[in-house]
Amino acid sequence: MTDPTPHHDGAATAGARPAEVAIRDLTVVYRTEHGDLPAVSHASLELRAGEITGLVGESGSGKSTLALSLLNAVPAPGRITSGSVEVAGVGDVTRLTGRRLRRARGGALGYVFQASQNSLNPLKTVGKQLLDLGRSHEVEDLRALVRRARELCERMGLDADRVLDSYQHELSGGMRQRVGIVLALVLNAEVLVLDEPTTALDMISQAAVLDIVRSVHRENGLATLVVTHDMGVVSEIADRLAVMYGGRIVEHGPAGELLRRPSHPYTRALIGATARIVGDTRLARALPGQPPDLTTLARRGCVFRDRCPLAMPVCEESDPALSEWTPGRFRACHADPVGRAPAPAAVPAPRAQDDPTGGRP
């Protein structure tokens, strides 16, 4: 916890609440025939209780990998090679193994799958899977667990009796999504991670699910992370926003401000590419080029420079560090911040991000 990285003490950011989750200098590497390819590089992010953090980026940007590393569940051949994920009351998740790791998953850390995914065993009723969950976590009072699940179901507008007695194929996409949230929260999780919570849902269900996320988040005082590629979703529910590109967090800050005045050229492009329902749809601008995958990712310099309208010679040389350019807002870019309030003194120093301490002793 004594990470020296100066730009992440977060003291300047709005809430003074302690971080429920502190991701520090996290690097996740995929072992392949082409060598070790970083899916997440030196990412640092804090999730606070009572705050919804949105994590946005294109597919392949590393956002899902980052979300999974919160549960130390990066799929093989991926591996967390440096950094830490401190969760209040649990410790550094990246060092947990065996039973303690298993109990943290589903315990303090609730993970909700994409709505289009089938996250339930098709051969068992929801109720039976709830009991499996309780037994796996050695819950003594299974009746109380069922009561709590019923309560959560009712709060989400589900008919608890029906749902607990149903198989997955008898539930609609929106209902499955809500059941996923129930199962993630039933053991009193403090951290809720939602992976693409609205993808593959129709607009009405999307709105309903977002409403539910917002209300359970508030009622339970959760630290919530919403992973999505949908700017509409984050603009609707997120308090804070982190933007990922090529495995790096390139910008983060308060959601409203960040959306109104994006600072990183990638964020700007991302917002510019969002088509609007009202107004001229032709105003949406596609970002030229392709997002990098792990094999085409630049090994040196800024990962975004090939698609960046502001690319400069220095971008070839060094990877810009994520730094606070105006109180509460962070970005990783060599170019002059745009949309900044009257110029503060320090322009982020262009230097390679190669923090040798890496958070590990």
């Binding site: 549960l71 569940a73 799929p75 298993r102 109990r103 943290a104 998953r105 589903g106 315990g107 993970y111 799958f113 995914q117 089938n118 996250s119 339930l120 065993n121 098709p122 051969l123 068992k124 009723t125 499996d132 969950l133 037994r135 796996s136 976590h137 198989y167 997955q168 194929h169 008898e170 996923g180 199962l183 993630a184």
Partner: protein
């Protein structure tokens, strides 16, 4: 429940149609075969020095039919008898009703085939799970290799090999017949033990024949379930490993039940060769002999029984499936 009964009724009806079709085909195909048992017997009697008139009379008494009736009349007569459960009288076992001959042979096929099938299913599926879980290690690939090799061995080769090794070479297991002829049949330990040791070679053959197929199918099924979202979801919910393995096992074995039902029929057909190799007096052996003897009624009866077995096995599989898969149940 109502839907279930309806489906069952539909299955039964389809099964009856199947049995009828097979009975019809068997009847006409068998009669299209060259050679005629009546003529063969007649010639035999004549060669044995019997006057032709007497020989003809004897043939018609022994075989109980006059082969000069039109085929269609014979067919209708056959169907009529079939409806009354009468399969006719065997020709080669002169005068014995076909039903009795078959009834005596059935247990010696059903028991070895079913126990061999069950054994291969259990062992093959277990090995398949292990092979899938260790598919990136040496032991996993060796297991898969054993499956591929065993799946490629023809049944008669395997049967001959086992007979050679365990009877001819090492003489540790008996061969031929269902029990030691010196032991009186009965519910005695001695007799049952003898039956069991005599059954080892055929059962082992059936089991080994199925093993490779089950292993490979189960391996790919487990591998695909392991990649399913709900398994990862269970892991991220902190579900205990043993429970997760149960999730995987039940989901992976499900599609194999259809194959299991189909393979019952397959095994019965395969028993023809295997019982011949081991000289084991089951249904397959009976069928082979009845073809050699041009024993039409016996042939028809044996074919019919195999058909009924397959139809019944399929219906049972369907029922079983609807018990274990909720998506089919409701």
């Amino acid at each position: 429940m109502k839907g279930f009964l309806l489906r069952l009724a539909a299955k039964l009806a389809a099964g009856l149609v199947m049995v009828f079709t097979v009975a019809t085909f068997t009847f006409f195909l068998v009669h299209a075969l060259p050679g005629n048992p009546g003529d063969a017997a007649y010639e035999g009697y004549v060669l044995g020095g019997m006057p032709p008139e007497l020989a003809r009379a004897k043939v018609s008494v022994v075989y109980g039919f006059t082969s000069h009736e039109p085929l269609v009349d014979q067919y209708l007569g056959y169907l009529g008898q079939l409806l009354h459960g009468n399969l006719g009288v065997s020709i080669s076992y002169s005068g014995v009703p076909v039903a009795d001959v078959i009834r005596a042979a059935v247990p010696w096929t059903v028991l070895p085939v079913l126990s061999g099938l069950l054994l291969s299913f259990l062992v093959g599926c277990t090995a398949g799970v292990v092979a899938a879980l260790r598919r990136n290690s040496r032991s996993g690939s060796l297991l898969s290799l054993s499956g591929s090799l065993m799946a490629g061995v023809p049944s008669f080769v395997l049967a001959l090999l086992l007979a050679f090794l365990f009877h001819t070479l090492w003489n540790v297991l008996p061969y031929g017949d269902t029990s030691d002829v010196t032991i009186a049949p009965g519910f005695t330990a001695e007799y049952l033990g003898s039956v069991a040791t005599h059954a080892v070679l055929p059962v082992a053959t059936y089991a080994l024949l199925g093993y490779g197929g089950w292993l490979l199918t189960m391996k790919s099924s487990v591998a695909s379930v392991l990649g399913d979202d709900f398994i990862l979801a269970a892991e991220l919910r902190g579900i205990a490993p043993a429970t997760r393995m149960r999730y995987v096992g039940r989901n992976a074995v499900l599609p194999l039940f259809t194959t299991l039902a189909l393979s019952v029929g397959h095994m019965f057909a395969g028993s023809v060769l295997i019982e011949d190799v081991f000289d084991y007096p089951g249904l397959g052996n009976l069928l082979l002999k009845s073809i050699g003897n041009r024993d039409y009624p016996l042939m028809g009866g044996a074919f019919l029984l195999i058909t009924v077995t397959i139809v019944v096995a399929n219906i049972l599989a369907e029922l079983l499936y609807s018990v274990i898969d909720p998506r089919v149940r409701r």
